[in-house]
Amino acid sequence: MSFFSKSPWILHYDASSCNGCDIEVLACLTPLYDLERFGVVNTGNPKHADILLITGSVNERNIDIIRNLYRQMPDPKVVVAVGACACSGGIFARAYNIQGGIDKVLPVDVYVPGCAARPESIIDGVVQGIGALEQKRRKSA
């Protein structure tokens, strides 16, 4: 990937994470890691976002919210599941209110492992997400 055709914006949603991955996602945007050097901006508006960064797993209550956020994002779009809980339910897979990883509801493009996922691996996941986004864009063009 020599250049990106556009600055991808990310939308972060905390599904039912313990905060661990969420603060690591935020830490990615701060001076030490600086995800913004890839042109990535954290936005609160799903209609502005290209990459959906989800931490935590799916439960009864947030399943509609996750679908709703994904639906509002413009095509092409990419889903990055951050952390063990988002990938598979993680340590909470056996809890009664957890249905499983994000792939129960959405097509996940990149899985970022770790509990909590390290900023380095989150950045790697987002950069891979940018690649997936480029591919989708070319396909739809």
């Binding site: 994470s17 313990c18 603060i23 701060t30 209550r61 056996r94 957890i98 909590a116």
Partner: protein, 361 residues
Amino acid sequence: MKRTIVPFGPQHPVLAEPLVLDLVLEDEKVIDAIPTIGYIHRGLEAMVDRVEYTEMGFVVERICGICSFMHGMGYCLALESIMSVEVPDRARWLRIIWAEISRIQSHLLWLGLGADAFGFENLFMHCWRMREEILDIFEKTTGGRIIHSVNRIGGVKRDISDSELIAIVARLDGLGKAFEATARVFANDPSIRHRMSGVGVLSMADARAVDAVGPMARASGVRMDTRLAGQNLYDQIEFEPVLETAGDCLARVVVRMREVRQSIDLIHQMVDKMPKGEGLPLENKPRGNPSGETFTRLEQPRGEVVYYVKANGTKYLERFRARTPTFANIPAMIKLVKGCDLADVPNIILTIDPCISCTER
């Protein structure tokens, strides 16, 4: 006047977590705020019937990623008291050193988020840059940045060597100096004063009436801190809780800033007092299965947390319960939000330092 209902959350830019409030407005004034919970509920307490008590500590740690160390510590303290395990001295000191380091981490994180909420992004970046130093210390001593897993029932898993402790104290001193520049901005910047001063005032009587805990109560002048009870060796060091009397958003910021300095001072005292030497015992392994029940209290960065554990002699606990500080502070938050301007809602919510993941578990 016509009333409007503005939904706040579950996905909102000011807070990473899904807090949901229905704000009932008359013009710009908030008349009522109705909280809804459950978006982050995992059913963690009920996992005791599926996870053995020896492994439950790892689950409890993940109640919240910000104060994960103290959750693990509280669970182990509860089990130790049920099983009458004597924890080696050095392990007890190491625990409270880590606990105070995690308090600094949490407060720096919060100061950053608070700055972000009132639109001061530069300050947010500065606070989080300093927080990385603390995470570095955690990573060197425990192996993890966020989830540490060093607490075991009966002690701790890792030692910090004496030379390393001295290096940590020196590093914290450097951090304390760097923090002063940021603290000056928080205390003196006119735009911050304008947003925070006199906003969301919780009087001392109200703070007592709604049972506020932690920095929220201390910013209203209530001298309340679980560490005052002298448990966990806090009786062996000089400690006086930080108090402010104004009770507004600015006072809550100032309390947390002063607590950062105080924690650095406490760590100095702890490192001086703790037993020195290499190869001291760190862990007394418990025998058999626990039987009995107990309450444990700890002062987390956000306030008092209470754990209840009931064990029935099998390897699965009968009941585990955690009453977290945010849960105790929500009534205070609702009280403050009523009657404020819509634009002040994010500030007020942020200054209680909400941890929804703790609250809903």
